[in-house]
């Protein structure tokens, strides 16, 4: 039907490629993206950066890669598929004390050769050549705990906003598409949740749930979806009247198909912006909750718990305060930078709107 030869047709750039091409022009946004990617890499590769077991070692005649397997375990369910070989799998096995060079043992250590839970020296030591950021109240290496804390922050940021995005998209698009009574009910519900001080609600729920990081994620996700829902509703309302939506309707497609295939993909832009800012807020909330003792529980580490340890040893060991402060600031700043650039790229009309 189309007589136009393929060569003469202008090459159609995909929406994502176009967005990326424009995004690259924003220097600050790119700087933010670089920080975001580095934080993600630190989070993913934490066991290869700081570990109490080596990356590669020879122990009693055989080769082992314990830190590599720790890293693989970052992917859910891989623990069922692959396990460390004995004796590294055993909780009681301490490679550092079993290490015997005379037997031909050698090891390639991670850059920070201490695990986040490993007790390595006296408590509350200031920064030194061996422990760059000092040790905490139990004598664990603070740098190692900071590195592993990045994983907590990133996981909370992305997963909780993932939950929020799903809830927000579902409710927002239903409200925007259905209109009338359904829209009024959902909009009123969004307003109720927005009027609630989020932090209070999270605190109230977490006071009763067992304090686990999964619960923190779920609760943040369940409370932070209102921004996404409002944007999704607004966008769907706007494009519901467009020609292609009318065409899809005329073809007799079901509402679900129209929303999912025709409306939502075109409504994603502001939602993405909202989600990016939301990640910054979630990271902030998680660290705050952990500071209050509702988030990550000992002996696991999070930037918030390290900060709390610094607060409790304010006069004796203040070296634990600046590192998490810098880390939380950088994480929040970088997601804000990316969000701002993304907003300008996708839709300049959205200037100065947040949340």
């Amino acid at each position: 039907m189309s007589a136009e030869p393929a060569a003469r047709r202008p090459r159609r750039e995909s929406r994502w490629r176009l967005t990326w091409r424009r995004f690259r022009a924003y220097r600050l946004g790119m700087a933010g993206l670089v920080i975001v990617v580095s934080l993600l890499l630190v989070a993913l590769l934490a066991p290869l950066l700081a570990n109490d077991q080596p990356i590669l070692c020879r122990y009693d005649g055989s080769l082992y890669v314990p830190a590599v397997i720790d890293t693989l375990h970052n992917v859910p369910f891989t623990e069922r598929v692959i396990q460390k070989r004995r004796p590294f799998r055993l909780a009681t096995f301490d490679f550092k004390s079993e290490f015997d060079a005379s037997r031909g043992d050698w090891a390639l250590w991670t850059p920070v050769p201490f695990g986040p839970r490993e007790i390595v020296s006296a408590p509350l030591l200031g920064p030194s050549a061996t422990h760059w950021l000092g040790t905490d109240q139990s004598g664990r290496d603070v740098l190692s705990r900071m590195i592993h804390g990045a994983g907590v922050s990133m996981r909370v940021g992305f997963l909780s906003m993932g939950i929020a995005a799903v809830i927000g998209l579902v409710l927002g698009s239903i409200a925007g598409y259905a209109g009338k009574t359904i829209d009024i009910v959902i909009s009123r519900f969004i307003e109720v949740v927005m009027c609630f001080p989020t932090f209070f609600l999270i605190l109230a729920v977490l006071a009763w749930l067992p304090p686990r990081i999964e619960n923190v994620m779920i609760v943040i996700g369940l409370t932070r979806w209102t921004g996404v829902a409002r944007y999704a509703r607004g966008e769907i309302l706007r494009i519901r009247e467009s020609d292609y939506a009318a065409a899809a309707k005329a073809l007799g497609f079901s509402p679900a198909r129209i929303i999912l295939r025709h409306l939502l993909p075109n409504a994603m832009a502001p939602v993405m912006v909202s989600v990016t800012f939301g990640i910054a807020v979630s990271i902030l909330i998680e660290a705050g909750l952990s500071w209050l003792g509702f988030g990550v529980q000992p002996p696991d580490s999070s930037w918030g718990t390290i900060l709390r340890a610094g607060y409790e040893n304010l006069f004796t060991a203040p070296h634990m305060i600046p590192p998490p402060c810098v880390a939380i600031f950088l994480a929040v700043l970088s997601f804000n930078l990316v969000g701002d650039a993304l907003r300008d790229v996708i839709d300049p009309r959205l200037q100065e709107t947040r949340a």
């Binding site: 109720v192 009027c195 609630f196 932090f199 209070f200 100065e352």
Partner: protein
């Protein structure tokens, strides 16, 4: 106009009702109750069980949830917020005591925000693209990304501990009673500095950016060009013609942000040992003090609704172009 007010009040009441319902649900559905918490330490199992039953009866926890909600609602309508499960004191009393520390910080913070943010925003907008604009924009953007509790920790560490300049625990020093009147005021003021700053800087950065943005938009308007064409001095054009019009959106921004400052911050108040609403909420949650939690949720929601309503009304009052007709 009256129709609009009625509409807003009715929809506000509906929202408020929804909020009390959600609060009550969240509190009731969660496991663990105050009676259990208070009897956990009694060693004798039989005594513990008996006291537990009695406490549940006293608190009305043995009734079905909807009956409890009805009881709470009927008390609320009569203006009674109930008594704390924790120490038996009137909830209204407890909140009254915690209100002033939080409210005073919130008002100081709002004043400081406006006093600093308005000139900053104006200067940046007038010299758009100049060095002052660039430096202040970058700094404000970075400031905006500093979480308030991170700023709190840094201030406590450097100003409070290292330099020993400012106190950071509570509202008053231990020897407050022995000080002269002036000494007491000076002591109070010093305690306010850091916590007020922590409440202020984030909003300040946001407001300054907001003022700059709005002023830039207004400066492009025709009436500003007319004012310039009349030969008015630049100062008059900016301050009397442009700036006053750029203030209008600021009103709704205040309406949006102020209630959240007013509801206090759990982390900041806990960090600075400040006896305000945020800390009261935290303690009530830990102690499963249902009436206090409900009252605080309710009051915060009322504050949010009232301030947004007042802001919307003020908007129409300042800007006659705004119409409330649908």
């Amino acid at each position: 106009m009256p129709l609009y007010v009625v509409h807003r009040v009715v929809s506000g009441l509906v929202t408020l009702f929804g909020i009390t319902l959600v609060s009550f649900g969240v509190i009731q559905l969660a496991p663990g109750d105050p009676a259990q918490l208070q009897t956990a330490q009694i060693a004798d199992a039989a005594v513990s069980q008996r006291v537990y039953e009695q406490l549940r009866q006293l608190y009305g926890l043995d009734r079905p949830v909807h009956v409890q909600y009805g009881m709470w609602m009927s008390r609320l309508v009569r203006g009674d917020l109930g008594s704390s499960f924790h120490d038996g004191r009137r909830v209204s009393r407890k909140i009254g005591e915690a209100l002033w520390p939080t409210l005073s910080v919130a008002l100081l913070s709002l004043a400081a925000t406006l006093v600093v943010a308005l000139p900053l925003g104006i200067l940046a907008a007038v010299r758009q693209g100049g060095p002052f604009d660039k430096v202040s924009s970058t700094l404000l953007y970075m400031l905006y990304s500093v979480p308030s509790y991170v700023m709190g920790m840094i201030l406590i560490l450097y100003l409070g501990v290292r330099l020993d300049l400012l106190p950071f625990r509570g509202m008053r020093s231990d020897h407050y009673a022995e000080l002269s009147t002036w000494g007491q005021m000076w002591d109070l003021a010093k305690h306010y500095v850091m916590i007020t700053f922590c409440f202020t800087f984030g909003n300040l950065a946001y407001y300054a950016r907001f003022v700059r943005q709005n002023l830039l938009e207004v400066i492009r308007q025709d009436y500003v060009r007319t004012a310039r064409a009349k030969g008015l001095p630049e100062r008059t054009v900016i301050l009397r013609h442009a700036f006053r019009n750029s203030l209008i959106p600021l009103i709704s921004l205040i309406g949006l942000t102020f209630p959240f400052v007013l509801s206090g911050s759990v982390i900041l108040e806990y960090m600075f040992n400040w006896p305000g609403l945020g800390r009261l909420y935290f303690e009530s949650v830990l102690g499963r003090d249902y009436p206090t939690i409900m009252a605080l949720n309710f009051i915060t929601a009322v504050l949010v609704l009232v301030t947004t309503f007042v802001a919307d009304m003020a908007y129409g009052w300042v800007d006659p172009r705004v119409s409330y007709e649908r």
